[in-house]
Symmetry: C2
Subunit: 306 residues, 2 copies
């Protein structure tokens, strides 16, 4: 096989109380990444989108991730990468993770699958490190594994695949910029033990709710007393979006990753559509451009499409 | 029915990372509580054990819990309570919770079950408040519901019953005294966000492990980076007990409640017995008196025995 094309999904990380430990793959949006073997060494990157991302393999997330894999595989020839990003960079739904994950899964297929999923996450983390400056797998792991994923330990990459009941997810991406590094820098270094207990009680409830398909418990547990109170101030319309979405029947939601995208989970497609309308109304009134998605959990991660 | 006798089980609370939110009912030890209706108003308490607990209903945990139930039931007659405590007070395995829970379950039976389990926990919490000075249900809820229980929210008493795979639990109770109030007072008011994330990652792993009968995941998640480092200093032999127990094959464990009892979970009975030997050796060498139990999860909470 000389070439392959994959789709690499957007991902929700954090899921309210699960800051830095939970992530979920989404059916939409997704990037399309084509990888072509070439005889000459080196990586050539082409972007068919208009985001103006760097084409130097040392500065490009896909390039860095692919180099990590090539080194481990002792692969001496080269690759051409053609990326069509449909997940807007900086939107908070794992755009950089999709670039890194997509290319390593594609390369693994082309080279006869020498690596397992955990190793692929390791390679992709090299790319994420370039993007965010820190080792995180809460977008990468669901992007590669699919579904809902717990990263119990980032050092040893203890990745746990969890069940979810059918869920509809509404996402709104207000066209404002929040740097991940800034969103991280404003978090408190210390938090009250009492708040931490509330948070891990909700994490426990959320995991139990997902495992047991208990929508009510998921809804009650989709709460974040630590990060949301700080980061939501960066997102105009946050409180109004949340209030209206819950009133429309959403189970709960909050900030996707470090924002600015917001997400809400619903039991039914019709509720998710109504939530989309409510979210849109808020940003129409604020006069802020936005893009919305109504999607579902993607049970598979990066998938070969050609 | 004029009288009833129940057994009220010991309980493990916290379970390492699950500080203040998780509890588990044990098959042994348990208290025996007999409740007898009497025509005359008021509560008369008799203890057939030698712990010298207060007999004044206003000062006795069972008395206070029973009064809360009698008030809610608008029950004008009286009760005689005969308690044989087999769970030593102050041992850290829910002795006060067993007193409070046993008597309210017994009274509910005698009065024709006017209350549900959640209401019984509410009444019993009045007794616990007397014992510990704070509203906690992490021993009471498993004592009444049985099995492994999550208290997602203490204010609304959102109690979630969780599954567990078969488990063997070794407990050692070194005969030293640690006041719950003191064990609580030495905890930090503020904790690093980074440590909190580690803790809730382990809580998530622990819940997923229990729900999916994944012993390896339970083992890796039985970690406490917040409370154990502080409280374990109050318990001589702690590090040695833990080291030897893990070497003997235990899945993990730590301080039971606020101590001084220590617990270790094992997959097999033979490992649990070996762990008991290792624990005993440590306290033999330290010259501290102790009592040990090898037991299992009690799927039922307080049970009628007569």
């Amino acid at each position: 096989m000389q070439s392959i094309k994959v789709k690499s999904p957007a991902t929700l990380s954090n899921l309210c109380c699960g800051f830095d430990i939970l992530g979920m793959a989404l059916q939409a949006p997704y990037d399309e990444i084509e990888l072509i073997k070439k005889e000459e060494p080196g990586i050539v990157i082409t972007h068919t989108d208009n985001y103006g991302l760097p084409l130097d393999p040392l500065q490009n997330i896909s390039g860095v991730a692919l180099q990590a894999l090539m080194k481990a595989a002792d692969y001496k020839n080269g690759f051409e990468i053609i990326i069509e990003k449909k997940i807007k960079p900086g939107s908070g739904v794992g755009s950089s993770a999709a670039s890194a994950a997509g290319v390593v899964v594609a390369a693994n297929e082309l080279l006869g699958k020498p690596f397992d999923k955990k190793q692929l996450v390791e390679f992709a983390m090299e790319g994420e490190l370039l993007a965010s400056g820190s080792r995180h797998a809460d977008n990468l792991a669901p992007c590669i594994y699919g579904g809902l994923v717990l990263i119990r330990d980032t050092q040893t990459l203890d990745i746990i695949e969890l069940k979810t009941p059918p869920l509809f997810i509404t996402i709104i991406h207000p066209q404002i910029e929040i740097k991940t590094s800034y969103a991280r820098s404003i978090l408190p270094k210390e938090i009250p033990l009492k708040s931490a207990v509330v948070q891990w009680a909700n994490v426990a409830g959320l995991i139990a709710g997902f495992q047991n398909c208990d929508y009510g418990l998921i809804s009650r547990s989709l709460t974040d007393v630590i990060v949301e109170p700080v980061r939501s101030k960066l997102i105009p319309g946050f409180d109004e979006v949340k209030k209206r979405s819950l009133a429309a029947g959403a189970m709960g939601g909050g900030i996707s990753g470090s924002g600015p995208s917001l997400f809400m989970m619903s039991e039914s497609h019709s509720t998710a559509i109504q939530v989309e309308k409510e979210m849109s109304t808020v940003y129409d009134q604020l006069g802020i451009e936005y893009k919305t998605y109504v999607t579902e959990v993607a049970s598979k991660g990066v998938e070969v499409i050609k």
